[in-house]
Symmetry: C2
Subunit: 274 residues, 2 copies
């Protein structure tokens, strides 16, 4: 490991961060805050026979699943407009492995699992708009406490596509209630990174079917700290496909990034905006 | 009225059907089955200051709200790629008028309500894929009984965009359970006309929060007849924005088509497919 520190080293390029992930030497529990001017991606890798269904699932659910690109079947090379010289089998820090709709393993690469007919999909990530929040005096609690964002399995049914259906997962960040309109305005343009929040505060939590309004018992990710006057702000989350793999009991092997350990792209954060 | 008959006259062009609507002489309770090779559109007309929010609402919810186009502010001319020589103030058979988030009137035109800053949005409609169903030996119950499709307000929360949020509305058509996979395959490609079903049968109804599984007490449209061995098949529906106007209590005047009385387009049904 070239250095150890409390938080991300913002001076490293995306390619350098990918190298750390490839070498399993990223010194933080998530890729949040690394290469902060770059976009990051959620990953779903599945057999080619399910690729049409999954692509349609993304297109029908662009808020949790904004599709950035996909590989050719069997070719693990990340499309160059997303990241140069990158192999999707190694360049996420960690991977979740699902078999027949159940989680079975967490690994540092998927060299063994990758098949001749595997297709990798790249889905936008909310880390892509975090620099814009910070630049507007909206600091990130999960980075302050060196944790992953809390994420929740909501009651919102996503739009079915072929064999894929499931409930939306959202990420949560606590913010002062009087900054919500700023937050909506700032993140709205990030249309390929979940865009504006899908809800906030107790009313939003109720609509989304979230009980844990103070961020203590998330379904995915880590608990957070909420301060006086803050509300929970919820965004669509690219962990939703992993929930769909579970909810839909997708047969065979599906490989995904470990939530929080994204693929860091060369694509700039501004390029996932409209 | 040039003729009276039980069902649509499939020999008329879309322009001729629009003329019937303009003259308030369409002899059926809905535009279903008219100009069957053409697409049809749901209509939402609102003040320009809400246009960005509403456009984003459509883009974030492409299954119920597939956006086909919009007018320039204050110009009631339908974009020519959708329909030629068409005035959106008159060319739907009937209109629902909402004020401050409440339904207030049903009119044959919106000449009085249209303002200098009005913007009309055109949203794809499931009538656009009905010919394809019929061509595959999947007849339409609502046309057989000369009614509108039953439509339901579901429990599914759509993705918020600015001032717009609300629950998805779905249309329902009864079909034999063993034809569902055919129906999914046929309608899947109609990506700008709601695409494949969002659910079917008792399990689908449960996921969507629909109690009335036998089509007797719809929230919008008409009751239907279900036969032995049939299941309810549900598609996203362009009435969803009217539900959002109610659910979000949109201020000011919003004009929409009356459900079932769509704008019949020159655009072909095949052109709302991917």
């Amino acid at each position: 490991m070239p250095f150890i520190q409390d938080g991300p080293d913002a001076s490293l390029t995306a390619a350098a961060v990918r190298q750390l992930c490839r070498d399993n030497e990223l010194p933080t529990p998530s890729t949040a805050g690394w290469a902060p001017d770059c976009a990051q991606a959620n990953i779903v890798i599945l057999p080619a026979k399910y690729a049409d269904d999954f692509r349609t699932f993304c297109l029908r659910n662009p808020v949790p699943c904004p599709l950035l690109g996909e590989t050719k079947p069997g070719d693990p090379t990340v499309p160059s407009f997303l990241a140069k010289s990158s192999d999707i089998r190694t360049d996420c820090g960690r991977y979740n492995i699902y078999k027949d709709g159940q989680w079975v393993d967490n690994k540092t690469d998927v060299m063994e699992e990758w098949k001749d007919d595997s297709v990798a999909f790249f889905i936008g990530c909310s880390y892509s708009f975090e620099s814009a929040l910070v630049a507007n005096d909206l600091p990130l609690r999960h980075q302050e406490i060196h944790k992953m964002t809390p994420c929740y399995k909501t009651s919102v049914q996503l739009m079915q596509a072929g064999i894929f259906s499931g409930r939306m997962v959202v990420s949560m960040r606590p913010y002062p209630a009087d900054r919500v309109s700023d937050i909506q305005a700032i993140t709205r343009s990030f249309s390929k990174a979940h865009g504006e929040p899908v809800g906030y505060g107790p009313e939003g939590a109720a609509k989304l079917g979230i009980q844990d309004v103070d961020g203590q018992k998330p379904d995915w990710g880590d608990a957070t700290v909420m301060k006086e006057g803050e509300v929970a702000v919820y965004w669509g989350c690219g962990v939703s496909p992993q929930q769909a793999v579970l909810d839909s009991k997708i047969p065979g092997t599906v490989m995904c990034h470990q939530p929080g350990m994204m693929l860091v792209l060369d694509l700039k954060a501004k390029d996932v905006c409209e």
